[in-house]
């Protein structure tokens, strides 16, 4: 196929001048696009998030109310998230979702901006999940807890005896051999193993690891699989297993409509409290909008949408979250004071103990 330039421009211009003028026009258009793009980028909010923040039902109301586009990038694991930040230019990111216990890691790297406490609904938060020991460093608040829940025993109440789920002994008993999945994240499940042998999660030391490993190996001997979020959730939902070690409302609540038989317990030994926080980057070029975003997420409406996100449900940190009665029932909102009183904090080991815990986990995975 050939292009008849004269036919398209039957004046005196030769083909070369036509090409040159089109090239100039293309350059101008590109420059305009780039300029528009950079302006749009300046007005955008760039968020490093977990999958629950990617739900359009959560982001759209904020975008429409503020005339801003929220660009999100999902990550799993604080190490992976911090690596993304390190590989980015300062100012590329505005806000970040992070494990509450890992906020000091970001502060240590001088990544986060102190948050104005007077502009945040701190007084409305469940007191036990404020996590000041992690989110406040040297008297400055660097993050705010937005969502929490429990790593505990998730189960199908039509397949197991709910009374058995009130004790972690069920996880290592022959009765449920081959009916168990273990959530593949070493910190919370090591925390559960510690609770099962009567240790406090906040006081774990290297000396506790042999006994914890023994308990983990007993659980593994009973388990059919050790799966990450999707795999373990699918295994419980499809009936591949009846019990999920490390499960909780984050697995069962979102599936409640399709599978009302799924439930979770806080056994007599306790449960591990997980919580996620929201922080603002020190180098953000859009701090006002970043603060607005944090305020939106912490508002009653934002909290309701976040806690019932399509990716996974969880308890809102704000007691005034605008949840419906049905949503509160699914999340067992009214039972939270009792649950929180019996829950223990997420293990927060130093770097050395963290490495040793991960090695124990690796040994458990390799055990046959």
């Amino acid at each position: 196929m050939s292009i008849n330039l004269k036919a398209t421009n039957p004046t005196t211009k030769n083909p070369l001048s036509v090409l040159k003028s089109r090239f100039h026009a293309a350059c101008a258009a590109t420059a305009l696009l780039l300029a528009t793009g950079s302006l749009a980028q300046a007005a955008d909010l760039n968020a490093l998030i977990w999958c629950d923040h990617a739900d359009p039902a959560l982001l759209q109301p904020f975008e429409e109310a503020n005339g801003v586009k929220v660009n999100v990038k999902e990550f799993e694991g604080t190490g992976a998230g911090l690596a993304i930040v390190e590989q980015s230019q300062p100012g590329d990111w505005d806000v970040m979702v992070i494990d509450s216990i890992d906020v000091p890691r970001g502060v240590e790297k001088s990544l986060f901006e102190p948050l104005p406490e007077d502009k945040l609904p701190l007084a409305d938060l469940f007191p036990q999940v404020k996590m000041d020991s992690s989110t406040v460093v040297d008297g400055k608040r660097y993050a705010i807890t937005e969502k929490f829940g429990y790593n505990t025993i998730g189960y199908n109440k039509t397949k197991v005896d709910p009374a058995d789920m009130q004790s972690m002994a069920a996880l290592t008993s022959d009765k449920y051999k081959g009916k168990i999945a273990i959530y593949d994240y070493y910190l919370p499940v090591i925390g559960m193993a510690a609770l099962a042998i009567g240790k406090k999660t906040a006081e774990l030391t290297e000396a506790d690891l042999p006994a914890i490993k023994e308990e983990l190996l007993k659980m593994k001997a009973n388990a059919k699989l050790v799966g990450e979020v999707t795999a373990s959730q699918t295994a419980l939902a499809t009936g591949e297993v009846d019990i999920l070690v490390g499960g909780g409302e984050w697995v069962t609540a979102g599936l409640a409509k399709e599978n009302p038989a799924l439930d979770f317990s806080i056994p007599k030994e306790g449960a591990v409290l997980w919580s996620q926080s929201l922080a603002m980057f020190k180098d953000s070029k859009n701090k006002d909008m970043a603060l607005k975003f944090i305020q939106y997420i912490m508002s009653p409406e934002g909290q309701a949408r976040l806690s019932t996100s399509a990716c996974y449900w969880g308890m809102p940190a704000n007691t005034k979250a605008a949840l419906t009665d049905e949503q509160k029932k699914i999340l067992r909102f009214d039972e939270q004071p009792d649950f929180l009183a019996r829950a223990q904090p997420y293990p927060a080991p130093n770097a050395d103990l963290d490495k040793k815990m991960q090695d124990v986990w690796t040994e458990m995975l390799q055990a046959q």
Binding site: G77, L82, D184, L225, E240, D359, T362
Partner: protein, 281 residues
């Protein structure tokens, strides 16, 4: 004369420069960065070999390599055994006008997403999946058999993928084989079995080994299939590498493990190259 000679010498270099530049930029430099990272401490300290010593001193890490080699060897062997007759039927038994369609059908699994394909296998192999329903429905088994979340599931997922790859390489080799070899063997009194064992098979070994080597490389470095189908009941090397990154962000240890994995692949390549002269195939 000299300038003509010089330009004659410069031309090949000019032609390969883009490829060399590409390799330098996207392979050599990243590899050097990874090698450098593997020799530094996680806490930002100076030079250390501790990332490598951890692998050799920790049986759980070492076991990941053993698991990877076992799974890869089994997958490669089964894939070759299944792919060869399949390729032979395609090349020798299917009429020439249908071969293109048959090949297209053979590579259909490549058209679907790798992740989706793995999850599909999970559904097929699950306790309530098609296979277990057939087994229990037919009365062969009273209870469902655990197929999903096992090493067997990982191997099935891999074999499904790599049989197609090997079929292509062996098919290409079989098609290049002149019929004269078989005619000559027959003229000399060799039967079909003897002709296959002493003529066809040796001449198609390069195709088998190229496919087997590709299978080995892709299989030993794969993270998705064992992660989805294996149920983490044992760790393979790629899973061990990823585990270092997730929460702790231990890139030096992950780099060291990756380089050890790369060294194993290099040894496999050298073994194949020496034996079959792949570079001349």
């Amino acid at each position: 004369m000299n300038s003509a000679t010089n330009s004659g010498r410069a031309l090949p270099w000019a032609l390969v420069t883009p490829a060399l530049g590409w390799t330098l930029l996207f392979f050599v430099l990243p590899f050097l960065a990874m090698a450098l990272s593997s020799l530094t401490a996680h806490d930002g300290g100076g030079f250390t070999l501790s990332n490598y010593s951890q692998f050799f001193n920790n049986p759980a890490y070492w076991q990941a390599m053993v698991n990877s080699l076992q799974v890869t060897a089994i997958v490669t062997l089964i894939s070759v055994l299944l792919a060869y007759p399949f390729a032979w039927i395609l090349a020798e038994q299917v009429p020439a006008r249908w071969q293109r369609l048959a090949l297209m059908l053979a590579v259909l699994p490549f058209w679907t997403s790798y992740v989706v394909r793995s999850y599909s296998w999970l559904l097929v192999l699950a306790q309530n999946g098609v296979i277990n329903r057939a087994l229990t429905g037919s009365g062969l088994f009273a209870e469902p058999v655990q197929l999903a979340n096992t090493r067997l599931a990982t191997i099935i997922g891999f074999v499904h993928f790599f049989v197609m790859l090997l079929t292509l390489t062996i098919f290409a080799n079989l098609k290049q084989l002149s019929p004269s070899y078989r005619k000559a063997a027959a003229d000399l009194g060799a039967g079909p079995v003897r002709t296959f064992l002493h003529v066809v098979l040796p001449l198609t070994m390069p195709g088998i080994m190229v496919g087997a080597f590709l299978t080995f490389v892709l299989c030993i470095g794969d993270y998705i299939t064992p992660q989805i189908l294996g149920g983490n009941n044992e760790l393979l090397m790629p899973q061990l590498v990823m585990m270092q990154i997730g929460r702790r962000g231990d890139f030096p240890l992950a780099s060291a493990l990756s380089i050890i994995l790369m060294a194993v692949v290099t040894i496999a390549y050298l073994a194949c190259a020496r034996w079959l002269k792949i570079e001349r195939a």
